[in-house]
């Protein structure tokens, strides 16, 4: 055993010398000839027969060589060296392949990383894959919460869960002497939530069950960021007495860095159930559960559904609509639009990969055709078919690995960029866009499969030519027929896919431009907006709030640098309320389907602050809005919609509430220019304004026009009127609007990037194919020029093939792009339906790029010197 191993080892390093083997063959042949001569043949004949009998000497050599243990290492290094030489010898070609692959693989890795993080990776806590959210309805369908008694019943009856905990989020304003109050995201939770997650405070103690008992001292758990930023990481924070929403509480602990369960929470307090909480129809809890090991979502769902049915029977008055939906955290928080956008990204990046593969396959194919002669010579000299294929495969895999490495770098950069771009959009803390191992796996598989994909087809082709034919006639005539069709199909395919991608990008960009174009007259860069939430306890009614506003506005207007200040419920472009409307003297056929209008509140002076021209009538006055004098100012769009061809001034309408009860009649006192409040709405509702005091809304936005940055001064002014009231969401208006439409900006950039890359690749692809084809026809072109073909003839000759491929690609692409654009517009992601202009624009763009790509090789062909060209080999 050991000797055998040692022998093998010895032969691994010392090869039998080649001449020894040849001597041995020679010896064999001599004997063979001698034997035949002895049998009576003439020497020449004996020699001939012996040689025939022996067969191919080179094949025998190779077979002997292959018996050596580890023989393949030598030939593989040989192939590898050769591959590196070929890659370097065809620098531009290799660079194009590597770049194409890097883009294709890099983008895919990036998007896969993002999708994995956003849609699949479990929440990073022990047993995170078993963590589920329980809601009463599918996400995005309005109120989806459950009541505290529901939670108690499910806890008592369900066997599928290790733990069931409830939470309800609200704003928590942290106040204490010496530090200005700050608003945070507060989560009121049942006390077992942290132990369910196996996450414990880094400082202080966990919640105890006794913290939730009636009369227990109120306690507060703070997040790491709050601890660092507000308390400078001081350990003495434990036991500190603070006010949370103006009620006293004690800080008992600090949660670990990065922990913000369930989404972006800063503070946690135990739910101490009040009689109000214990009402069955007071549904304000989100429920989170940890499944028992081995229990899947569908069986947990079945159990909860059964319990919900029992509850319905038990409490018909309050629980008649009770249902419970069990879903993963990803479904709960990243479902709907986000999922849609990510899948759209996946689809488009898949297109990019297809284009990349087609491109590389095409380039390899055209080169394989050009190298057919080389391959044939190798085969004729005794290389086995496998050896030829392996040689090409190694080249391809090497190119893929190089491309993939660059792609990995690209992906890492892209993921980081995306992470930065989405860090401020309310992303749950557990969605972390970082590269991980499964992505590496995906990347590696993609890399190798791509390499094989484009490597094997051309390799298979070039290893199989009829040797004699190739060697006799040369590669020119053969390649033309064989490679032509497949290459043409690939080019058409590429152009079609590129067109679809460009259209997708066009749709996003078109929507983006539309939103950027809206409200052009508003000086968004000079307007600061900020939000105040007046607590119900201290500001019980409209009059109390009005007193606060009346104190605040003059102070704001007196600030240095401030030219104008006003109040509104929603600054321009930041949403609106909606209600069904009834126009006086205009009966509707169907009372249940009244037209819906959008409205916001505005203080006197708001229109001049945002520079919205008042076309007719007057601005609001302090006397507007009381019960006997309901007023409204319409946008021109609404006036034209309901009172076409007549003056709307003095006309009346009324709104209907959720229960279908009509409100007071409202009189129109003015008409302004149009304003767009809902930027992502495809079909914005007619908009009007009402005085602030006419709506019982406790939240209000400040809009301040200032030459300087007024943030600090505005904060101080608010504090001067009410020192416990924090100013939140402070932005310049343009930033706030961008924040609102972040995904349009982000995905416009992403899709434009994708489309640009696809465009580039398609151009490189058609160029490479035409250039290869043209260089194969150099001799022919030389002859044509020598025989008097004009410049135009030659250009046409070369470009004709490219032109019809572009044409066919555009036709196929347009046919596919139209439904794709319709599909995108139908998705609820805030893109608008596309006008034909987009199609025409992208088709023209693509055609131009294609033309240039065709023109370059054609021009080179036309500039050929016929004498040199004819001699070209």
């Amino acid at each position: 055993m050991i000797t055998e191993f040692l022998t093998r080892l010895r032969f691994l390093f010392s090869r039998n010398r080649r001449d020894e083997r040849d001597d041995e063959f020679q010896f064999h042949l001599e004997h063979s000839i001698a034997a035949k001569v002895a049998a009576g043949l003439r020497p020449a004949e004996a020699r001939r027969l012996a040689l025939i009998e022996f067969g191919g000497v080179e094949a025998a050599r190779a077979q002997c060589e292959q018996q050596r243990p580890g023989w393949w290492i030598g030939s593989t290094t040989q192939d590898l060296r050769y591959a590196i030489r070929m890659i370097r010898a065809h620098g531009w070609f290799s660079a194009a392949v590597i770049a194409t692959l890097a883009l294709g693989i890099g983008l895919n890795t990036m998007v896969f990383t993002l999708i994995n993080a956003a849609l699949f990776k479990p929440v990073p806590v022990p047993g995170g894959a078993r963590l589920v959210a329980i809601t009463s309805r599918a996400p995005g369908n309005g109120d989806d919460r459950l009541s505290y008694p529901d939670l108690i019943d499910y806890r008592a009856q369900a066997r599928s869960f290790q733990a069931l905990e409830g939470a309800s989020d609200q704003e928590g304003i942290l106040g204490e002497p010496g530090i200005p109050p700050e608003p945070y995201h507060l989560e009121r939770t049942t006390t077992g939530v942290f132990s369910m997650l196996h996450i414990h405070p880094v400082l202080g103690r966990d919640f105890r069950a006794s913290d939730a008992e009636p009369g227990a001292a109120p306690v507060l758990m703070i997040g790491y960021t709050v601890w660092q930023n507000r308390y400078a990481g001081s350990p003495s924070v434990i036991g500190r007495q603070i006010h949370i929403n103006e009620k006293p509480a004690t800080i008992i602990g600090v949660m670990p860095k990065g922990f913000m369960f369930p989404t972006t929470v800063d503070l946690w307090m135990p739910i101490v159930p009040t009689p109000r909480d214990l009402k069955r129809d007071n549904r304000q809890l989100q429920i989170f559960g940890l499944l028992q090991p081995g229990v899947n979502i569908s069986s947990a769902q079945a159990e909860l559904t059964a319990i919900a049915h029992r509850l319905v029977a038990q409490y018909p008055d309050t629980d008649k609509n009770t249902t419970a939906l069990v879903m993963s955290f990803h479904e709960r928080y990243n479902g709907g639009n986000i999922r849609m956008i990510f899948l759209l990204m996946l689809a488009s990046v898949g297109f990019v990969l297809l284009i990349a593969c087609a491109n590389v396959a095409n380039m390899m194919l055209s080169r394989a055709v050009a190298r057919q002669r080389e391959m044939s010579i190798r085969a004729a000299l005794g290389a086995s078919r496998w050896r030829v294929i392996r040689q090409l495969l190694i080249e391809c895999v090497l190119l893929s690995v190089l491309g993939g490495t660059f792609g990995l770098a690209l992906a890492a950069f892209g993921v980081h960029w995306f992470d930065l771009q989405t860090s401020t959009v309310g992303r749950p803390y557990w969605v972390q866009f970082t590269m991980d191992y499964s992505v590496f796996g995906y990347f590696a598989a993609l890399c190798i499969v791509t390499g094989l994909l484009f490597g094997i087809a051309p390799a298979w082709r070039s290893s199989r030519p009829d040797l004699n034919e190739v060697l006799q006639e040369g590669a020119r005539s053969i390649g033309h027929h064989r490679g032509g069709k497949l290459a043409a199909v690939l080019v058409i395919f590429q152009f079609a896919l590129t067109l679809v991608l460009l259209t997708g990008a066009g749709v996003f960009v078109h929507s983006l431009i539309k939103t950027l174009d809206s409200n052009q007259s508003i000086p968004a860069r000079e307007l600061m907006v900020g939000r105040l939430q007046l607590p119900q306890d201290r500001y019980k009614d409209i009059a109390a709030r009005q007193r606060f506003y009346d104190q605040l506005l003059p102070r704001l207007r007196a600030l240095p640098g401030v030219t104008s200040a006003a109040l509104t419920s929603n600054p321009p472009g930041l949403g609106s309320a909606e209600s069904p409307v009834e126009i006086e003297y205009q009966p509707v056929p169907d009372r249940t389907h009244r037209p819906v209008v959008a409205y916001i509140t505005a203080s006197p002076g708001y229109f001049s602050t945002i520079r919205l021209p008042l076309l007719l009538g007057r601005d609001f006055q302090p006397t507007d809005g009381n019960a006997s004098h309901r007023t409204a100012i319409l946008t021109r769009g609404m006036a034209d919609r309901f009172w076409p061809g007549q003056s709307a001034l003095g006309k009346r309408f009324r709104l209907y509430d959720d229960q279908g009860k009509p409100g007071d009649w409202i009189s129109v006192v003015g008409i302004t220019a149009n304003l767009l409040q809902d930027l992502t709405e495809q079909d914005p509702k007619p908009l009007f304004f009402v005085p602030i005091q006419q709506q019982d809304w406790s939240g209000i936005s400040l809009v301040v026009e200032s030459a300087l940055n007024p943030t600090a001064a505005v904060r101080a002014a608010v504090q001067a009127v009410d020192q416990d009231l924090p100013l939140r969401s402070v932005f310049l208006l343009n930033e706030a609007v961008e924040h609102q439409t972040w995904y349009l900006h982000l995905f416009s950039k992403i899709f434009m990037g994708f489309a640009f890359i696809a465009l580039l690749m398609a151009a490189v692809g058609i160029y490479a194919v035409l250039a290869q084809a043209t260089s194969r026809r150099t001799q022919e072109i030389g002859v044509r020029i020598a025989l008097g073909a004009s410049l135009r003839n030659i250009m046409l000759l070369v470009m004709r093939r490219g032109l019809w491929q572009i044409g066919a690609g555009l036709a196929v692409g347009l046919a596919a792009a139209a439904p794709a654009a319709r599909l995108m517009a139908s998705l609820p992601i805030g893109v608008s339906p596309t006008d034909p202009g987009v199609f025409i624009a992208v088709a023209v763009l693509l055609a131009m790029v294609g033309l240039v790509a065709c023109w370059l090789p054609a021009r080179r062909a036309a500039a050929l010197d016929p004498v040199k060209a004819i001699r070209y080999e």
Binding site: E4, T7, R8, R21, F27, H28, A35, R68
Partner: protein
């Protein structure tokens, strides 16, 4: 006439080992000897003979050395090693078992030599 490719997989190795167990021999000699003993029924093509010899040598069952042939020409002689002898023994046993078994299945009880 069956050629070497018709030989059962591994049988060629066995034949070579058996032939070399008699005396060290060069490649040509091995081929000739097998042909003679089998009364021309088995002709070993060079295309399989040399790869087989190399394979056996790499496995350490035979050893090669250069020497002078009968007509005083330099030739490579192969000789069985101790490991090769052991291998031959176990392969012969396997062969006997196998051929006896095949004989039984085919209903032709052959005289088992040795």
């Amino acid at each position: 006439m069956p050629t070497s490719t018709d030989l059962l997989q591994g049988t060629l190795d066995l034949l070579i080992l058996q032939t070399l167990s008699l005396e060290p021999m060069h490649g040509w000699g091995v081929a000739q000897r097998i042909q003679q003993i089998s009364k021309d029924a088995l002709q070993i093509g060079q295309g399989s003979l040399y790869p087989a010899l190399y394979r056996l040598e790499y496995k350490g069952w035979i050893k090669s050395e250069w020497g002078n042939s009968e007509n005083n020409r330099r030739a490579k002689f192969y000789r069985l090693t101790a490991a090769g002898r052991k291998q031959l023994q176990s392969e012969l046993e396997t062969w006997d078992r196998l051929s006896a078994a095949i004989g039984l299945v085919l209903g032709r009880a052959t005289e088992v030599s040795r």
